[in-house]
Structure formats: C-alpha cells, structure tokens
Symmetry: C2
Subunit: 273 residues, 2 copies
C-alpha cells in the first residue's frame, strides 16, 4: 500500500501567511509539518543586540554562524515563539497539532561538526565553536506514534547530537532525511515565491513542471536560497520522494492552489510510466 | 491497581540544579515533569528591555501581568529555551524526554479571564488585556500515549483557551488539575529551599511531616510564593494525591534525599490507616 503521509514544509519568511496555510491544511489527511523561522530570528536578534553572523562555505553556501548565544536565540524563536504560535493556530482549525524539535524523543539525531570552514574576504578560516551538524538518524517511533493516533507533529530545528549537544541543522536537508526514513512520497513546500521562477523578478516565469532527470540543470542555475532548497529536494527524491510541490505560501488557499497546478511540480518520471 | 505514575515539579529559580535533578531522575520509573522558568524570564525580559509588570490580586497574590509582549517572552523562555535545554539534559541521562506546552495536543485547556483585578497603591483596578486563565480541562490522551510508550513528557505553560488563545496559567494550579485527571498519587516538588521551613532564614527549621488535616494552618502562615504552592498542593490532594514531597532542588541526588526523608512530606492520613 502506498504511504499516504505527506510532508508540508513552511518557509520562515516574513510574508508567509500562516493563517491562510493553517486554514487550508484541513483539506489534507495525514501529514507532518516542518517549519522555518528565519525572519523572526533576524528581528529578535536585533532587539537582543545580538549580531547575526553568517558563514559562507568554500562551495558558496550561506549559513548561520551558531555559537552558544545564537543557539539560545534559535531555541527561543524556533521552539518557543514560532512553533507554539503555529500549533495554537492549527488547533484553531481543529488540527490536533503537537509542536516538537529534533531534540524531543531524539527525533533528529546527528553528528556535531567539530570544524567548519568559512570564507571571509577571500581567505578560508577554521571555526571550531559552531554548534551545528547534520541530521543522520531519524528516531521515527515518536512521529509514527503521534500520526497513528491522529496528532499532527509540527517539527523544527534544532536537533540533538549523538553526544547530547543541541545542534543547529539545515531544515531542507533534515526534511530530506526525514522523508526517506518515513517513506514519504509527497512533499509540499510553501515559499515566498509562486514556485521556481526562471526570473526571480518575474512571477510569471514560474516553471510548472520539472522532471527529476532535469533537476540538476535547475540546481546549477538557481541562486543561493533556492539552490539549497533544490538540493534538499534532490536528496529527498533520491531517498524515495516521488512528487515535490513548490508553491506560494503568501496567498489564500495555498495548498489547494498548489495541488491544482499553481507553482512548480518536481516529479519522478517513473510514476507516470 | 495503584497508579505508579509520579509528577515531578521543578521550580524555575536561579539556584535549582537541573543537572543534579536530571541525573537523579533515572531512579524513577514512570513520571511526568512540570517545570518553571521564572528566573530566566526576569533575566531575558531585562535584556529585551521589557519591564515585567506584576499584579497583586485583592486577596494578596502576586502574579505576572501578561500582555501580548510578555506572552511572547514567556513562550520564548518557557517553551523554547528552558524546556528544550531540560529535554536535552534528560536525554543525556537516557531519559527519553518530550517537551510540550499546554498548547500541544490541547493538554492544558481553560478559560481566558476577561477581566482581572489588580491592587495598585491601595486602589483596585480593572485589567482587560491580560492573556491569562485557569486550566480547567486536561486532554490526557497525548500524555497517556507518551507515558505508555516509554516517553517522559516535560510540560510547561502556557495553556490554550477554549477559544484557541494562548494563555498564561499558574503552574501550581495546573499541576493540581493534572494530577486529578491522571489519578496521580505522588508528587515531588523541587524548590530553592530544603522543604517547608518555619523560619525562611533557618534551613534547620524544616518541617519534616505535615498531615493533610493540618495543611490549612501552614497555608495560613506561609508567605506568598510558598502559600501559592501549598494551595496547589491542597487542591491536588483534594483531587486524589496522597503524598507530596517538598524538597531541595539545589543539592546532589535531590530525589533520593527527598524520598529518604529530607524535606517535607505532606500526606493523607488515610494511607496510614
């Protein structure tokens, strides 16, 4: 029997309309949510007088420099403010949501990176106090237990290391590992864009379908944020996901619109054979 | 069969030693944790430039004035920073903890107080923007499901109103309603004191045993913080709890010491009949 569990990924941008999303999620049956909170992190960090530091990896990816102070803010915003407000909103729409991080029940377990490289002014530097890592193992029993009993897990970083440290992880890659472990076939990603756009400034340039075999081409030309997302999508599809919908998280009835063909559908050709 | 589920209540004071507690909790079998975070709230509110406002009720109880800004801080510290750090710490000691608020799965449901009274400079004022309430209903299915499957729920405020607002609630009273719903017979409360002390300044004045029928006398003479706790204890014992241990949350092996007679044991006489 085909797995009917879906993964909904909600971006953490300022213009994402959580209310529209929560309202429209009622139409789905069995799903897990993973959400971001980037905009709120920036906003609250400023208020706390904490400078957000970025790391640019030698291969050009931008990520957050997470020392202990930054991790505290991360916990406050992700696990506290954003996760719980989303859970309350979902409860309003009769979705029995349960907010969790990767720490709870060790859902997201991984290795802390002891050393990471950062390119600053053309020079590569070593950073050894970064509390980051990659999700390598999903402890699926808690998620399965909740889903089986009618609850909707609402999941966000951070994760926990094999040595019990709290570690920041990339949401898109964590989602990929999760879909593989839970054998999820469909993923819906809600963005601050109408889908994958050839020209970022032109919403009408959205590509409506991308077969998996052409995904690499799009990854190559995509810009930083979208490139990371598409790499996550690729990893998820290699792991077994068959359909990924990218669509607009700012509009009314976002899920319905996406499932009716708005946005970008990335698909495994095999499912149409 | 007697219910062997225990409730552990951990105070949110600055000197509570979370590591000692987590380490010693391994000795227990089936339990739920409820924790506070008061000290961190005060610390982070200051950093955020938010003035903590207190309300003194006409009957003399001090509570936090929770408007929308204060509730945001509350979510960040309780649900985010403190809850998740405690969960990670428990995981370190092989306790499979899952951090939750009363919002998740609607565990703590109640009515928002539309109007509350505050005494300021001898005058009674009406406050109508307070996001507070009382827990009236426990949705036990999530907690039972987790406990039955070997997870340890780590619970903290806020709660959710019947109208889906996030509301701040009193931890001690919420604990009382919880013990009744789950038919819990034993509660251990970890404080910044060696137990109930006749003289707050003299740790040797700790009262080692208080029979339930004498509890009212102690409530009468107790000071604000302890009075509130004892009122919670009374409510819990009327609801069915038979033993409440009050003990020191600052020392090594706190649980072992408490169960071996350190601290104060409040007990229903009937259990010794």
């Amino acid at each position: 029997m085909k797995n009917d569990l879906q993964l909904i990924k909600i971006g953490g941008g300022q213009d994402i309309n959580w209310d529209f999303i929560a309202e429209d999620l009622k139409r789905l049956k069995k799903f897990i949510i993973i959400h971001g909170a980037n905009h709120k992190i920036t906003e609250i960090s400023k208020k706390l007088g904490i400078t957000e530091k970025k790391i640019i990896s030698p291969s050009g990816f931008v990520s957050r420099y997470t020392d202990e102070k930054a991790l505290d803010v991360f916990l406050m915003i992700y696990a506290g403010l954003v996760n719980k407000k989303l859970v309350a909103l979902l409860q309003k729409y009769k979705i029995n949501a349960v907010g969790l991080t990767g720490i709870d029940g060790r859902i997201w377990e991984g290795k802390r990176k002891n050393i990471i490289y950062s390119v600053e002014n053309g020079k590569t530097k070593l950073i050894n106090d970064s509390l980051t890592g990659n999700v390598e193992k999903i402890n699926t029993n808690l998620l399965n237990l909740l889903v089986k009993n009618g609850f909707v897990p609402v999941l966000c970083p951070p994760a926990i290391s094999f040595d019990n440290e709290i570690i920041n992880v990339d949401n898109d890659r964590a989602a990929a590992v999760l879909t593989k472990s839970l054998k999820i076939k469909e993923m819906i990603m809600l963005l601050e864009a109408p889908g994958y756009c050839k020209d970022l400034k032109d919403p009408k340039s959205v590509v409506s379908k991308i077969p998996f075999k052409k995904l690499d081409r799009f990854i190559k030309i995509a810009q930083s944020g979208m490139k990371k997302k598409l790499l996550g999508v690729k990893e998820a599809m290699i792991g077994g996901v068959e359909k990924v919908y990218l669509g607009d998280g700012r509009v009314k009835n976002p899920i319905s619109k996406i499932l009716n063909g708005a946005g970008t559908l990335i698909f495994k050709e095999s499912i149409y054979e």
